[in-house]
Amino acid sequence: MEVGLKPGEISLGTTLIAVAFDGGVVVGADSRTSMGGSYTVNRVTDKLTYVSDRIYCCRSGSAADTQAVASIVTYYLQLYAIQHEEEPPVRVAASLFQELCYKNKDALSAGIICAGWDKHDGGSVFGIPMGGSMHKLPYATAGSGSTYIYGYCDTSFRQNMTKEETIEFVKTGVALAIGRDGSSGGCIRLAVITKDGVQRHFIPGDQVPALGVI
């Protein structure tokens, strides 16, 4: 059973990874939404949620809580863009996530990664775990599936990877986690965010490599 979820509440079991590279970020996730640890409510979920043109968030924990928080942050970023006449920086989005998650820590079950590109700092990744702390990182993982890939990430991550190497790192990480976590599964969704835009990738469930299954 998941900590912090109310009985019967729908959870994004989940595996989330976001990695910064020179020129942007790659965010990746599985596509399973589960309930009660046993029933898959949605096997093709999109957990990579738009909050602004160059900022996405990855959602884990309660589906309802994270949807609500993401919608509120999207609203405030739209306001920011109009008032400042520029695209919001990633650190502003992450800060907004933090404020909501911290101030409502007792009511929320939300593990969020906020990642994107802006002209001030390039690609940035911020982890905002439950509790509402904020952590700027070269890469972040979140969700129940992330526990199974700490070893993989610790040994495989390198600084200054190319975009292609970063995509492979994220894809392999999610695939490994899907292979072990009952709350993660389905397809792998990736989004590559650079100054030129957001490129989405999709690996259907039957093409996710079954790594290590003998």
Binding site: G13, G37, Y39, G182, G205
Partner: protein, 259 residues
């Protein structure tokens, strides 16, 4: 509250002999060496159906440790003698114990040297008595079994679980399979057991196992099938099912997003 640190692993204050809930009135409560507390390595659904040549059952090859897909090459189907097959869901250690117990039973029966071999209804009855007895001691074998067999032209398919509940039917499904697969199995099989071909039976089981792979969290796309016919027990090698995902490619957001 027992504050003596030497008793840190004894949950003796759970025991109340006058508790109206019988699971708390058992003197063995809290003593994990005398009372099964919870299942640990678990197998998920098992399905079974009768068809024209005999019976067929299917299960995946996963032993889960909570949400962790820990043992991905765990066969949950076991032959008992030459004409019976057992599919197990639930605790894998209890299943292993049951396998040893039934092997011993078959060997003991063989050594009576009377040319009688226990057939499927006998094995089923024995198993269900053992399970009910264990549940009555509040120390269950935490399993749900599908027992299938073919003896002298007669098909047999039965269900028995950790409570000792038993029933026989031409279609059987454990766990979440009862919700997802049973309606499909009923529609496809009931009334047609005698004319259902092997190919049709495989098709039906594969369809049901595919749905269970989609909708049940603790499953693996690695299925094993077993059939029992006049030629005996045949357990297939594990195989993967083709699955549909391409329709998910265009989905964006959870409902509010347009990008």
């Amino acid at each position: 509250m027992d504050r003596f640190s030497g008793n840190f692993d004894r949950f003796s204050d759970l025991f109340n002999p006058y508790d109206s809930n019988p699971t708390n009135a058992n003197h063995a409560i809290g003593d994990f060496t005398k009372c099964t507390r919870k299942p640990l390595v678990m197998g998920s659904t098992v399905l079974g159906l009768e068809y024209q040549d005999g019976v067929m059952i299917a299960a995946d090859t996963l032993g889960s440790w909570g949400q962790l897909a820990r043992y991905r090459n765990e066969s949950r189907i076991y032959p008992v003698g030459n004409f019976t097959v057992l599919g197990a869901a639930g605790d894998m250690s209890d299943f292993q114990h049951t396998k040893h117990m039934l092997d011993s039973l078959m060997i003991k029966e063989y050594y009576t040297n009377d040319d009688h071999v226990l057939s499927t209804p006998h094995i089923y009855e024995y198993l269900s008595r053992v399970l009910y007895h264990r549940r009555s001691k509040l120390d269950p074998l935490w399993n749900t079994y599908v027992v299938g067999g073919y003896n002298n032209g007669e098909r047999f398919l039965g269900y028995v679980d950790l409570l000792g509940t038993t029933y026989q039917s031409s279609i059987v499904a454990t766990g979440l399979g009862a919700y997802f697969a049973q309606p499909i199995l009923r529609n496809a099989v009931e009334g047609r057991e005698g004319i259902l071909t092997e190919a049709e039976a495989i098709e039906i089981l594969n369809t049901c196992m595919k749905i269970l792979f989609y909708r049940e969290c603790k499953t693996l796309n690695r299925i094993q099938r077993a059939k029992v016919t006049a030629d005996g027990v045949e357990i297939s090698e594990p195989y993967a099912l083709p699955t549909e995902w391409s329709f998910g490619e265009g989905i964006r957001g959870f409902g509010t997003q347009t990008q």
